[in-house]
Symmetry: C2
């Protein structure tokens, strides 16, 4: 049997970035910075092999990486580029064995593109998987937590070169201490959490998410009807085609909160859709009726190009399509919904899968 | 040649606590909590061998420990007792070798008594040395920093069981990140910094400080003239015998600030002494004339018992003696004074040794 390893090249980055933006559901940070960093790293250190989880041997160590902190800070204070090296070295010292591959903790937004840069810098392959299948704001909102995998160590490194290794008693303490460290480091840092062997990762991560982001990103640019093509790739429902007529948005407690109102146009003339935002697009209502909710994905795209529009780029008058599609099944388990369902974000709403709501 | 190792016993604790209170120069936290914890640990784990630094082999690893955070929190949220084990295990994992002995980072106040408990819990000897020879408020204010020893790792553990290991780029970042971690952990934690081999520790720590605290504590209880006896043991000058007539004290930015005015009595009738406070007693003036300043030690003691009175216990009407005596020579070096001289605390004053001021 012969396996041909696919490599992520410079040419793949635009599609990957577009796909990660769609999976970011409005949040997850600006994909531009991540794309530039990844392009520079590929040019300097070479292309990055993309391998399925099944190709990592059972005892191979997987390093899930993500940026932590305010995306606005990450945008203005770029990383030094050495953070992944500092983290990898510390993880290997603490666990006494080499890291076999890098993984994205979060495929949505800039954290979906960054791992290409980090894997290139480390000369390691990137596992075709991630911890969310989308974007979420907190450390414990990952599939590895839902699958109850051990959170033995969390390692952070900052642009100054500080390295911080936590052995938290649980994921909540990891979020609390990691967040405080990130703020003390200037508001942005690189983080590894849920370092796992491939055996532990199986069944506890979302597989195929890098390929999926690439396919989504390519769909955005294909065909005469980009939005229709994207919907087909995603298996998405169009909640509404329309015009942005109201954007209410403020920053509080380290999060962006607000709402968006879209006024139907064309075949959707006369209908109004309201989307509730907390960093990501969380819930969509039409005339008080639930159309879609977290953990299912809700993304606002440009009606013409099908490019995702992030929360901070929403403007009055934009012609958009609001899409929604089913999340990974792990989020629909009891523990999944307790962690990232509507109530976990403060909404007194029962979760109903978007495909059921579409048929209602 | 035969060496008989001295052991710290339950019976030594009251004298040690009194001595540490004197060396706390008003700050360093309440010695009561530390004494109770040490008594419990000795009862449970046995007496603690006190060994001179010269008895630790060159490559023996020394673990300097201290509580970090607000003393008020430490008083209300006692440690679990397992923090030293968590820290020792993490240090040994990170450095790949066993810890040989515990050392006090700070001999002044509760952090001078706590190491007896921590060494007992670990079944390790306590080195007769510390990092200050007194009390100071910040992480970089230790002799090891002045002697430019490497600060490779800083490890913290909290009452919940969280363990945090830092590899800071310098001592200032260690203070910043360590302080943020301490706050996230609830305001109090145990910390190891400047983990050194005995070879690195030689010339970079203040030797004999535990014996010295014991001798001082015993002097407090001896003779018909406790204050005179204490002065002789310390080599201290009496700045003033008198009555507390004004205490101005407030908590700001994590520090206690204020001042104290003592009105001379007896042979000192008609004289006034003002002591400036920032956690510790920092500077003493008489009629605008400098009488003593940091890093030399200034302690307020009870005129009758010679017991040290901490900053937070100062009250109107107390009959006190204000004593001052020379600090360890390491603090009088250029780097020492830059780190803990009057200007490091915001006073625009040149340092003059207390013994020169006494003869002026």
């Amino acid at each position: 049997m012969q396996t041909t390893t696919e490599c992520l090249t410079l040419g793949d980055l635009p599609a990957l970035a577009r796909g990660c933006a769609v999976l970011g559901t409005g949040g997850g940070g600006n994909v531009e910075t991540g794309t530039l960093t990844a392009a520079k790293a590929i040019a300097e250190y070479g292309e990055v092999p993309l391998i399925p989880l099944s190709e990592v041997p059972d005892d191979g160590l997987i390093l899930p990486l993500s940026g932590i902190g305010a995306p606005t800070v990450a945008h203005e204070m770029p990383m030094s580029g050495e953070e992944p090296v500092l983290i990898r070295d510390e993880v290997e010292r603490l666990l006494g064995r080499p890291v076999a591959a890098v993984m994205a903790s979060e495929i949505g937004g800039s954290n979906g593109v960054g791992p290409v840069a980090w894997a290139a810098r480390l000369g390691l392959p990137l596992v075709d998987a991630d911890g969310m299948g989308r974007a979420f704001p907190e450390v414990q909102m990952v599939a590895m937590y839902i699958a109850d995998r051990p959170l033995d160590i969390v390692v952070l490194a900052d642009v100054q070169g500080n390295v911080i290794a936590l052995r938290p008693v649980d994921a909540m303490w990891s979020e609390r201490i990691g967040r405080a460290v990130c703020v003390a480091c200037g508001g942005s840092a690189l983080m590894a959490d849920y370092v796992l062997t491939a055996a532990q990762a199986r069944g506890a991560v979302i597989e195929g998410s890098v390929s999926s982001a690439l396919a989504i990103g390519r769909a955005v640019r294909e065909g005469a009807e980009p939005v229709a093509g994207l919907c087909e790739t995603l298996g998405a429902t169009v909640l509404l085609h329309g015009k942005v007529i109201d954007v209410d948005r403020w920053t509080t407690g380290g999060f962006v909160r607000g709402s968006l109102v879209v006024d139907g146009t064309g075949e959707h003339q006369g209908r109004l859709l309201r989307v509730e935002i907390q960093n990501e697009n969380l819930i969509a209502f039409e005339d008080g009726r639930l159309r879609a909710s977290v953990p299912d994905l809700i993304t606002v795209v440009d009606q013409k190009t099908a490019d995702a529009i992030s929360t901070e780029s929403l403007r009055y008058g934009q012609r958009v399509s609001v899409l929604s599609w089913p999340c990974d099944p792990i989020w629909r388990t009891e523990r999944g919904l307790a962690t990232v369902g509507p109530r976990a974000f403060g909404y007194d709403i029962d979760y109903t899968p978007v495909e059921e709501l579409a048929h209602a």
